[in-house]
């Protein structure tokens, strides 16, 4: 049975592409989009309306444009700026008004209600630019604010307001230090995309059960001296092996493209991959056995797998979900797979939680396979 299925896949070139090329591609897209966004490299586009049109406002715009890699354009008026934000051409906008040294809040950040994160980011960038790139301006503002307390002499005051523009900026109050290790979101999406495609791949393989039933092959198979159990067992083994290879291809791409530490934790990764592939194979076989036709199996399995993927965290990170959905996620194999990969690859651990995940996944595999065995056995006789 293993040889039959291997030869069938090898000669189905389109199937090979779907099994081994598509999942890594989708992973790279997911990991790049979501991984970068949530881990801090969000490339926002902004527009600015400069009502002040002063030397200070020009310096602020130049410095900001430099920080945003040029993704800052000028708007002719406030209406045009608002229109750019509403239409999505700009993620957020700035209105510069009044004398920077005197007005309490000379910069207003315009934020679209659906893109609040972009507004937060732009606000932080403006504050950083003001502190780091316009230090003498900030000092003048602070001097003016603190003048009643400091009671400066006219000389001191004149001296402070005549500060040169190349004043050394103050040292940052907080400094960043990125800890060693790969981005956990790249690992998260490795597990998430892997289990998503494992399910679909296993289902495609399991649906040959239905094809064989329809073509009359099952009549020949039930005459085998071993009965139906070894035939289903062979299929289970094949789908598990195929799933492990598929996961290996995906995580190899993750290791190369995103430095996911695959080799360093290969043994624990292998156990997780085997358990997740077996769970997918078992569930797919159970579903294929329960369905009478491909026309039934295709939409039913797609619906179930998409729901499992959504609740289990394959589409959006579980930590962003409401508490209730996070708890519900533990009913899906997806949540266990993602959790196990994260612990194994991100933290390099095989702890109780990982062993528990392996056990749960093995349980999914056993339950699915047992269901397939019972249903096919009843259908046979």
């Amino acid at each position: 049975m293993l040889r039959v299925m291997a030869l069938s896949l090898w000669r189905d070139r389109a199937g090979l592409v779907l099994v081994f090329v598509l999942p890594p591609l989708v992973y790279v897209v997911f990991a790049s989009v979501f991984g970068a966004g949530i881990s801090g490299r969000l490339d926002i586009r902004a527009e600015v309306f400069d009502q002040t049109n002063s030397a200070d406002s020009h310096r602020l715009i130049d410095a900001l444009r430099h920080r945003l890699d040029g993704r800052l354009t000028l708007a002719p008026n406030v209406a045009a700026l608002e229109e750019a934000i509403q239409s999505g051409r700009a993620d957020a906008g700035l209105v510069l008004a009044g004398n920077f040294a005197e007005v309490k809040t000379p910069v207003t950040v315009l934020i679209h209600p659906g893109r609040k994160a972009a507004g937060e980011l732009l606000t932080a960038q403006v504050n950083a630019v003001a502190t780091q790139d316009l230090p003498e301006l900030m000092l003048r503002r602070e001097t003016a604010r603190l003048a009643p307390i400091l009671q400066l002499t006219p000389d001191q005051n004149r001296h402070l307001t005549a500060l040169p523009q190349n004043l050394v900026p103050p040292p940052p109050f907080a400094a960043q230090q990125v800890l060693p290790g790969s981005d956990p979101l790249q690992i998260y999406y490795g597990g998430a995309v892997s289990i998503l495609f494992l399910m679909f791949t296993a289902m495609q393989g399991a649906m040959t059960l239905i094809d064989e039933r329809r073509a009359g092959l099952r009549l020949r198979q039930v005459l085998s001296v071993g009965g139906i159990a070894p035939l289903l067992g062979g299929r289970m083994l094949w789908l598990t092996a195929l799933g492990v290879v598929q996961a290996l291809v995906l995580f190899t791409v993750a290791a190369i493209a995103f430095r996911v530490p695959l080799l360093e934790n290969f043994a624990a990764w292998s156990a997780t991959a085997i358990c997740s592939a077996a769970a997918s194979a078992g569930i797919a076989l159970g579903l294929a056995a329960a369905c009478r036709t491909r026309e039934q199996a295709q939409p039913v399995s797609t619906f179930i797998f998409l729901v499992l993927a959504a609740v289990g965290g394959s589409m959006a990170p579980r930590f962003l979900m409401p508490e209730m959905l996070q708890r519900l996620g533990w009913l899906t194999p997806h949540a266990w797979v993602i959790d196990a990969y994260q612990t194994v690859l991100s933290r390099g651990l095989v702890n109780t939680a990982v062993v528990q995940a392996w056990a749960v996944l093995f349980g999914f595999a056993a339950a699915g396979f047992a269901a397939a065995l019972v249903i096919e056995g009843r259908r046979q006789l």
């Binding site: 030869l7 069938s8 073509a215 009359g216 009549l219 020949r220 005459l223 001296v225 009965g227 035939l231």
Partner: protein
């Protein structure tokens, strides 16, 4: 698994199976001995394919007993090796070559790796498909696929072979291959259960014939004996008219003929065909109805099925 000359290879005893309200098999009893070709005929839905599945132990029964070489194939996995089946559809793995398919089925039947090579070669020779051994099944024409389907049924040298509509859609050459194969298997004392709509094949190949109707085996026996029993010395008279003529219909009906093809064709089995033919010709002349064709022939199996099921009067 040696078989004594008189030993029953297949024994079905009072088997019954219902699907809801529909009766698929109704107390069917049948015995098939080594080297015998037993043909099952009947209309669509009569229960032939259900009986074939029951015969190989692939159908759960409501009642009755199935034995192959004395053992129940539903319980005894070993006896399954003695069964071969060529289902109505081409039951092969489409992405595999003929020889790979045969290897797979030989392995399923429990043949060792060493036995398989010889068995595959032998089966391909018997089914005359060796010249396409290394071609993928989905690249073959329908006729070659049918040959491969047959080869897969016999690769493990079964003692009981079930052929479900084996000549459906076959060209003349492949039908001859099948006829020669059945003759060879019969000589090797393989018991063959042949399900067919093709009455010509059945007439040539079958040692015994069973007619099924509504899940029941309503008649069985040797084809020539059944024909004599059904029709005695009667022959079949077939008349084709150039146009349907209501005025002549009572005359034709009075001669025991029944209409088909919208009243253009009338046929029936009659005792003295030539007297009937003469009288009918005269009546047609009087009515000025043009006769296109008049045939007098021995009754075929179609007529037998019609007679057995009551749709044709003897």
């Amino acid at each position: 698994m040696a078989v004594e000359p008189t030993e029953a290879v297949l024994r079905l005893d009072q088997i019954s199976r219902r699907y809801g309200n529909r009766i698929a098999l109704d107390q069917v009893t049948l015995e098939l001995t080594a080297g015998e070709v037993y043909a099952l005929i009947g209309r669509n839905g009569a229960g032939k394919s259900s009986l074939a599945k029951a015969a190989i132990g692939a159908l759960a029964l409501d009642a009755g007993l199935v034995q192959i070489l004395g053992a129940d194939p539903r319980d005894d996995l070993k006896v399954r090796r003695a069964i071969g089946i060529a289902p109505q559809d081409v039951a092969l793995y489409p992405h595999l070559t003929i020889s790979e398919n045969l290897n797979a089925f030989a392995a399923l039947a429990g043949l060792s790796r060493r036995e398989r090579a010889a068995a595959v070669a032998h089966a391909m020779d018997d089914a005359v498909c060796a010249e396409r051994a290394d071609e993928r099944v989905d690249h073959l024409s329908g006729g070659w696929q049918r040959r491969a389907n047959l080869a897969a049924a016999i690769v493990h040298r079964p003692r009981l072979l079930v052929l479900d509509e084996p000549t459906e859609g076959l060209d003349v050459e492949t039908r001859l291959v099948l006829h020669r194969l059945i003759a060879r298997l019969r000589a090797d004392r393989t018991a063959i259960l042949l399900i067919s709509h093709n009455t010509e094949d059945v007439a040539v190949l079958a040692d015994r014939l069973g007619v099924m109707e509504a899940g029941r085996l309503i008649m069985e026996g040797r084809p020539d004996t059944l024909m004599t029993e059904a029709f005695g010395g009667r022959t079949e008279l077939v008349i084709r008219l150039s146009a349907a003529t209501p005025s002549i219909e009572p005359v034709l009906a009075a001669h025991g003929l029944t209409p088909s093809d919208g009243g253009l064709c009338w046929s029936g089995t009659v005792a003295d065909a030539f007297t009937h033919a003469l009288e009918i010709e005269m009546a047609l002349l009087w009515a000025d109805v043009k006769l296109r064709e008049l045939t007098v022939q021995p009754p075929g199996l179609d007529a037998l099925i019609g007679w057995v099921t009551g749709s044709v009067a003897p």
